[in-house]
Each structure stands twice: as C-alpha cells, then as structure tokens.
Symmetry: C2
Amino acid sequence: MKIAMNDKRAGSRVWKMAFPGFLIACLVAATIATERAAEPPAQKPATMAEIVAAAKPDDWRALDPENTLYMELAGGRVVIELSPAFAPRHAANVKALAREHYFDGLAIIRVQDNYVAQWGDPGAEDPQAARKVQCAQKTLAAEFDRAIDAAIPFTPLPDGDVYAAEVGFSAGFPVARDKGSGRMWLTHCYGMVGAGRGNASDSGGGTDIYVVIGQAPRHLDRNCTLFGRVVQGMELLSSLPRGSGPMGFYEETEPLVPIRSIRVAADVPLAERSELEILRTESEAFRRLIEARRNRCEEWFLFQAGRIEICNVPVPLRSKSAAAGK
Amino acid sequence: MKIAMNDKRAGSRVWKMAFPGFLIACLVAATIATERAAEPPAQKPATMAEIVAAAKPDDWRALDPENTLYMELAGGRVVIELSPAFAPRHAANVKALAREHYFDGLAIIRVQDNYVAQWGDPGAEDPQAARKVQCAQKTLAAEFDRAIDAAIPFTPLPDGDVYAAEVGFSAGFPVARDKGSGRMWLTHCYGMVGAGRGNASDSGGGTDIYVVIGQAPRHLDRNCTLFGRVVQGMELLSSLPRGSGPMGFYEETEPLVPIRSIRVAADVPLAERSELEILRTESEAFRRLIEARRNRCEEWFLFQAGRIEICNVPVPLRSKSAAAGK
C-alpha cells in the first residue's frame, strides 16, 4: 500500500499506520477502477473502494426524506435514517415529536464512554418545567423484534454471530434472525439509535433517545426498541465530553449539549437538505463488499481474517453531488 | 430496578435509561452484599456489582509499576498496563522510549471515529525536526502472536467468537487461542494499545502507538502488535475531536493534542502514582462475573442474552484507597 505524502505533518504517519482501507490507498485504487468503468479487475481481488467505485447507479438509493431526521447541533448536522420496517410505531412517533418541535431546545444529557450518548428533556422531572408532548405519544408498546417476513430483504453474513442464530443486513440496517422462533430484530451496532425506557417494556416511546458510541452492546438487543441509524455525523455525538455523573449523565456543573432542532428531512427546504445515497445492502456490490472485508486484499494486510462480524461491516454512503460529478 | 432520584436534572433520565447495570442499581445491591460480608445471596443470581463487592482481597492485584505507563494529557492521566507476556520486546521498548523521554512534547496526531486514536512525532517526516530515538529501538520484529504455554493463564469464555477458535482472558487481557496452530494472541478490543507499522511486519516498534476507540477492529488481530491496554482514562482519548484529514489525521489547520509526558509508573514518585487494582481474571469472582454478564439479573433486563462476546466483558478496576476504606 503506497500513499502519497501530500501533507508534511501527516505524511509519514499515514504511511506508518495505513490500515483503514477505505480512505487512502483504496481511493487511489478506486480511481483506477472508475477508469475501467464498471468492469472489476479480473484476477486480483477487489478492495471495498474498488467495489464501491464500480457500483452501478441502481446499486445506490437516496435516503427517503420522509424517513430521515436531521438533528442540528452547534457542531453540525447528524443524519438519522429511520426503520419503519422494524419499528413502525416508534419511527412514526419520533417523526410526530419532531414535527411538534418537541426536541428543539432540549439537550444531550448523557454520554457514557464506550456505551451510549442520550438526549431528551433535562427538565423532565419538574412537572412545571417539563416539555409537554402534544399530538405525539408519550410512550408506546415495545417493538423489540418482529416476525420474519419474506418481503423484508435480508443479506446474510457467512461467519456466524456470538449472540444470534443468523445475522445480516436489511435495507442498510444490521439485523439478527432466529428461524426457530420466526423473529428478526435490529442489532445494537455502533451508530444505532433507540428509545430509552424504564423497567416496563412500554415505558419508552422516543422522547428519550440514545445512540451507541462504543463496542456493540448486543445484550441490549430485544431489550430496547431500535428505530434508526446515524448515517452521517456520528463524530458529533461520539466525541462529546463524557458525563461525570452515574452512567455518564452530565452533572449540574457540566454544560449540557443543546439540540437546536430535530426535523424530518421532508420538512426542510430542498436547498438545505443533505442529499445522501446509501449502497443497497441487497445489491451484488454489497455482497462483494462483504467478501472484500472478510479478506482484505490491501497490501498492508499480512493476515486475512477470512471472517467478519456484523458490526464491522461498513455501509457505504455518498453525497448525490459527488455521485453526479463522477 | 429502582434508582434514587438524587439529582434534579438527571433523576428521571436515569430512571428512563437505566440499563448499564454496574453503576446505580447494582451499587445499591453491592451495599447489601457488602453488609452480608463475602457470602453471596443463596437463591437470586448475583449482579456484577455484587460479585465485585464480595470479591476477596486476594482476588485483586495491584498494577505493577514496572509494567504501567502514565500518559499525561492536558485533560488528565491515561493509565496503560503493558503485556510483557504477549509482547515482551514491544513492552520493553516502549518503556525504554518513555525513559529517554521520547514521547514528551509529542502529540496525538490522529483520531478516526469508531476506530483508533494514534500518537507519535508530528515532525517525523522532517529529518531535521524529527525526534531522535536514543537508546531504544526504532523498529522491532513483530509480536503478532505467541505460542500457547500452560504457564500463561487463560480463562475461557463459553460462547464462541466470530474470528477465533477460542477466546478468553489472560491476566486482564482479552486473548484468542487456536489449539490447531498452537498460537495465542491479544485481541483488538476497545482500549487495547498497539504499535503502528508500515507495510513490513517489522516496521513498527512503539514510536507510533494507537488505541482502539470504537467497535473492536478484530481484522487487525495478528496484523499489528498489541502490547498494552488502557485501564483508566480512556475517555480522554475517545472523546478527542476527530481529525478531518484522511484516516482521521489532524489537518494543518487543526490543533494537535499535546502529550505532556509518558512515564513508567515506577519512575514516578509514590505520592503521584495512580494506585490501582484489577480483579484477577483468573479468579473465581471473575468467572462468576462472566456468568452475571451473560445473564443480566438486574430488573431492567427483560431479555437475557445468555451469551457474551469477548469485547463486552468488563475487567473491574478499583483504587487502592477505595479498597482500604471498604
């Protein structure tokens, strides 16, 4: 893996720790692949970047604005894709909450290292100060899992899983299945978004939301309703200061992180939208990507794992403008 | 799971998202367990906090000051335990580098979201400006794995692993084994510390160091030499701003994060040391902890995973002073 030394500061460091694949050497390779049009190299195994560059226009899908949330923070925008297929009630309710401006002016109130960031109403305990829920639901019945349905796409992974009988991807989301019980569910990978709850299964509903910022806490699978996934802007949440209170809640002495707004993308003027496309996890390109990640062909890799765990599979994202300029 | 509402701001939030177990409800339970001395409850399965509280003094070991590094940042101290059992040459060389003050005044130069933070010499590319290695080695032969040895402790996990034939813990470190090849190696879990390298296996040595800050990148196992583990202060690294350059390197316009010093704990005056103890992963208490994490008995959990993945097992840490005050 050769890397252009285009930056005095970072050059030799990039060379010294050149393992992430997607960004540098593979972008060089991707340029080559693009020049060859959609034809993958015949002999040499393709890298993820080559596969992504060679993907056909139909392998990509735009985010549905009716299914996308924008959370605006001082640092920028977090883009969340909802999963009505797995959590129809929660996806609808969080949209309803956004549309009544429930979240605007609330805050991120908890960041626990290697676990979750969480947002909601810092004043929820005070009946006078608490933000009122208007037309949305305060709480909902849980949507921890759902019935397996042939209409729900599923691209399986071949290497098993510690927690579930079967794992794979469905419309961009990491999913586990158990044919024995006939159930399937979203899995707690990095960036997955869920509804906080109390002890009762129906005590959550989307007024309190968390996102996974560390090692996948898979023991939460089927204990919480996951209803979405951060597709852009994760670093705005994962790099926040950790709260010093119990479970990472911010103490009174620590500044909360204000939420300017959460909007449904469809309600945002076209010119202000983040026009993003996701590689279809049902595409042949994504199946090839899985193989490329199981066996990394980049020169840096001296040992190929030959296996991959579900939360280590990246789902490629691109901006529409970048795609148009290709 | 009932939680005292001891903080106006956080109270209801704690109650709404009360899943991490270790900290709140379990501390309440731990108090009860402590009052009952070392006798665990007869019927009810114990929580991790109860098990930790009931652990015997011999179940704990102090960090060896000759085997511990302190990295001092503006935000505080990061404590790293070295693993001479798995990486004797790298552990010795990083200590030699620390003892010749190689790292003092260098910087964290890269933070890539959901992957690694990395430190080293920002001026390494400029032969005039580059920090000189004096008595230590610039590079070393790799220590990607080692022979299985009955003298190396190993506490196995019962639920398998996506990447390796067998996984477990050895002296506090997450480890994989393959009896077929007779080899064992440290695994890339959150907080593990390794030596960056170029394409050649022997091009690293400890002048460039990375730490895992996201989902375990297990495809790096046996591709990099892991030689240590952050036992305290991870949040000082994981919450740093992500670099906006390729692979998370900081661009020229972004401030680097200076390293005040890296010292071997044995070289630090007694009064300034972090006196920490780790629950022995060879103890019966740790074996019980594994079971408590496979099947979470806290009231909040409605579904018990019944399984656990290696990078989700916490290794309890306590300060000596807290232990003495018990």
